[in-house]
């Protein structure tokens, strides 16, 4: 009897899984809500920035470059290189550079991954027109996704 139950129990469990909720998010149609600690795109406050270049110097991947904008030096960030380590944000003496949780940065070419100071100073667009879900943990079912109201 042991052999038979060894064969049939996994099959029954697999069968049971068919009717459970799937764990995958249908991403482009449904978006995951970023957590509080999500490190996403930067945001620049041009009025606070003094163009000291500490962010560019501290960047481990040399993603930041200082460029001329409005007769002053401002950081320009290449998201093809950025590793989202947040060192530049912690180095900024005036708190001009901040971090947001925007994670949808995909682009069709490398050139459009370079964000100029002008683009950086605009806050990122929030996720709209889609269902936003977050991960919840349940006692019996394990992890699952639930809609955020």
């Amino acid at each position: 009897m042991g052999l038979v139950s060894e064969i049939l129990t996994p099959l029954y469990q697999a069968f049971e899984h068919i009717f459970r909720r799937t764990f995958t998010i249908k991403y482009p149609y449904v978006a995951l809500k970023p957590t509080e600690r999500t490190l996403g795109r930067h945001i620049l406050d041009p009025s606070k920035c003094i163009g000291c270049g500490l962010c560019a110097n501290s960047c481990p991947t040399k993603a930041i470059e200082l460029v001329e904008w409005k007769e002053k030096k401002h950081p320009q960030i290449d998201y093809g290189r950025c590793v989202f380590c947040e060192i530049c944000v912690s180095m900024c003496p005036k708190g001009a550079l901040g971090i947001t949780s925007a994670y949808e940065l995909a682009a069709y070419d490398k050139a459009s991954l370079v964000y100029s100071p002008e683009q950086l100073s605009v806050p990122p667009k929030p996720i709209e027109g889609r269902k936003i879900v977050s991960v919840r943990f349940y006692e019996r079912r394990g992890a699952a996704h639930a809609e955020v109201k």
Binding site: P10, L11, Q13, A14, F15, H17, I18, R20, R21, T22, F23, T24, K26
Partner: protein, 329 residues
């Protein structure tokens, strides 16, 4: 009049081959999509999603077009003729049994008395083609895969034929139509559960599906005897594999599960396809459930368990009429 008669003949011929051809094309396309969806649900994933309006139904057509558009790479030291011919021959040989498998009491492309034997003959040809493929690819993975196919064939081919023998003894016939129609009172699967079990396990091994996919073991042999194949040639092998999978599901249904017999609110062919779909679903579930067995485990299963069980089944079959329980005359 002459012209009309010829047109009638052509229409008759087309109607006659229609289910077989549709099964040959439809089962690989819909079957692979269904399997991917089903396995995804077993693993709590979603599976194909984007292509096609509903749940990625057209995914397989997109995949097939992608395969067809890809370059065919032939290894320098490979035997080119065999390398190119093998997938084409394999697909034809795998699909040939559809010419004699009935989809209905009368709906069969070519009817003759020994069609069950013909199906087995064609099915046992495929391992030889695969051995040739493995040898012609000039690749160690392909060659080991080819050898494993032959080993595997030794393990399952004998119990596969032995397990059907019980049914053949009961019906006194190798004709699938007679075998199926003899089950109007009780299915042979209920009458001979041992035969059904042995035939089912052996047929899974025959079509190299998990847990018996030893020749194409992805973790050990890249993808076994298909390693060097690319583009449409790989697609043809895939198609051949799924056609023989479909044919074996059909065979189980016809021989053991009453085939097209069923209550009359559905047409006979619908019953056949419904039962086939259920059998195929169960086989696909095995893929999502069980780990692969080793070569020695398969040989042990074949020789020590399946063959004795098949022989016991034949013995019981011979005993049933003598003690007066014969259902079929």
């Amino acid at each position: 009049m002459e012209f009309l008669a010829i047109v009638n003949l052509i229409i008759d011929a087309i109607v006659k081959i229609l289910p077989a051809v549709l099964f040959m094309i439809g089962f690989p396309l819909l079957g692979v999509w269904y399997e991917r969806k089903l396995l995804a649900r077993v693993m709590l994933r979603i599976g194909p999603l984007h292509v096609g309006k509903y749940a990625g139904v057209l995914q397989l057509i997109a995949d097939f077009m992608k395969l067809a558009a890809k370059e065919i790479i032939i290894p320098t030291k490979a035997n080119k003729n065999i390398f190119i011919a093998a997938p084409i021959v394999a697909t034809i040989v795998a699909a040939l049994p559809l010419a004699v498998i009935p989809f209905d009491g009368n709906w069969v492309v070519y009817r003759f008395d020994l069609n069950l034997l013909f199906v087995f003959a064609m099915a046992s040809l495929i391992p030889l083609i695969i051995l040739l493929t493995g040898w012609a690819s000039y690749n160690k993975y392909s060659f080991i895969g080819g050898l494993r196919v032959i080993f595997q064939m030794l393990a399952y081919e004998i119990p596969l034929v032995l397990s059907v023998l019980g049914v053949v003894i009961l019906t006194q016939s190798f004709d699938l139509i007679k075998i199926c129609n003899a089950q109007s009172k009780i299915w042979f699967g209920l009458l001979q559960p041992l035969g059904l079990l042995v035939f089912y396990i052996a047929s899974i091994a025959e079509v190299e599906r998990m847990p018996f996919d030893i020749p194409t073991a992805e973790q050990e042999l890249v993808i076994g005897w298909q390693t060097e194949y690319s583009g449409i040639l790989f697609g043809l092998f895939m198609m051949a594999n799924y056609i023989s999978f479909g044919i074996h599901s059909l065979l189980i249904t016809i021989i053991f599960l009453g085939g097209w017999l069923g209550p009359s609110f559905l047409p006979p062919m619908a019953w056949l396809l419904l039962k086939t779909a259920i059998v195929a679903t169960l086989t696909m579930m095995f893929r999502g459930t069980y780990p692969r067995v080793r070569m020695d485990q398969l040989l042990r299963l074949g020789w020590r368990i399946l063959i004795p069980l098949a022989l016991i089944n034949i013995l019981l079959t011979l005993l049933i009429p003598t003690i007066g329980l014969g259902v079929v005359t």
